[in-house]
Symmetry: C2
Subunit: 141 residues, 2 copies
Amino acid sequence: MRDQFPFAVARVTRRWRKMLDERLKDLGVTQARWSTMVYLQEGGEGLTQRELASLMAIENPTLVRLLDSLEQQGLIERRLCPNDRRARRLHLTDAGKDFMEELSARADVLRDEMLAGLSDAQIANALDVFNTIMENAEQQK
Amino acid sequence: MRDQFPFAVARVTRRWRKMLDERLKDLGVTQARWSTMVYLQEGGEGLTQRELASLMAIENPTLVRLLDSLEQQGLIERRLCPNDRRARRLHLTDAGKDFMEELSARADVLRDEMLAGLSDAQIANALDVFNTIMENAEQQK
DNA sequence: CCTAACACTAGCAAGCTAACCGTTGACATA
DNA sequence: TATGTCAACGGTTAGCTTGCTAGTGTTAGG
């Protein structure tokens, strides 16, 4: 039974990503790009790239390309950091903030549909499981 | 709280994949290639590519490349199907079967480490959540 | 002056869609 | 019965995105 777990998580992740990509397609934004904006907004603007990558639990090179596309679309800005000339501080543009409303609305709708029929207790338990796994992963190297 | 869910699943999936890839690296096999072999073994040999893709819940072109690499490594075989000249029937080679023991042993160790501290009830609940989500996803288009 | 840190580049793996080739099967019609 | 057409199907290719590691250049700081 436990052996099904890794396959099941992966399936759910793929499926969710696929459906969200489909629904955001006409806006020219993907699931990964949208998440990047969400994390940036939540983390508070002015984060450096390293901080954001760590918040998202992805590697820096992965983030670099996501930011490239978002910057090219005019949704975020990389500003020079006065204290540390190596670093860049990240900000949503006004267009980016406006965009977020539409994007988040669609993501919320999908989320409600995907989690339909599940109680708060079930979701909470799943989140506990995820947290424990991440702690276990952290512990080893 | 529910809004954390999609981010949390994705994080766990990425992390798990990363760790398994790391541990299988010296054998020249990745997480995705190993899963392919697992599904093939479980689904019973002689599956067609379409059947296996559907079992794995991935798209056909994705599977094609996984099979290309596995075939090149001599771990599986694509045999012609006598009834339908379009189709190929998939089989593990003897080398593939031998390999599976080592691969699965390592995957099992990782799984135990990742799920440490979690009760069967918690895991069962998480699997229920995953199943419900997949049903919800199925329902719409 | 040397090491560590930040962002970036290059290149691989694996997910996806769209478009293609050959085969199959059904169905209309000669 | 035989044949012509045509849609559907299995597998593949091409090309995009996003995950990763390894390696580079510049800057900071002991």
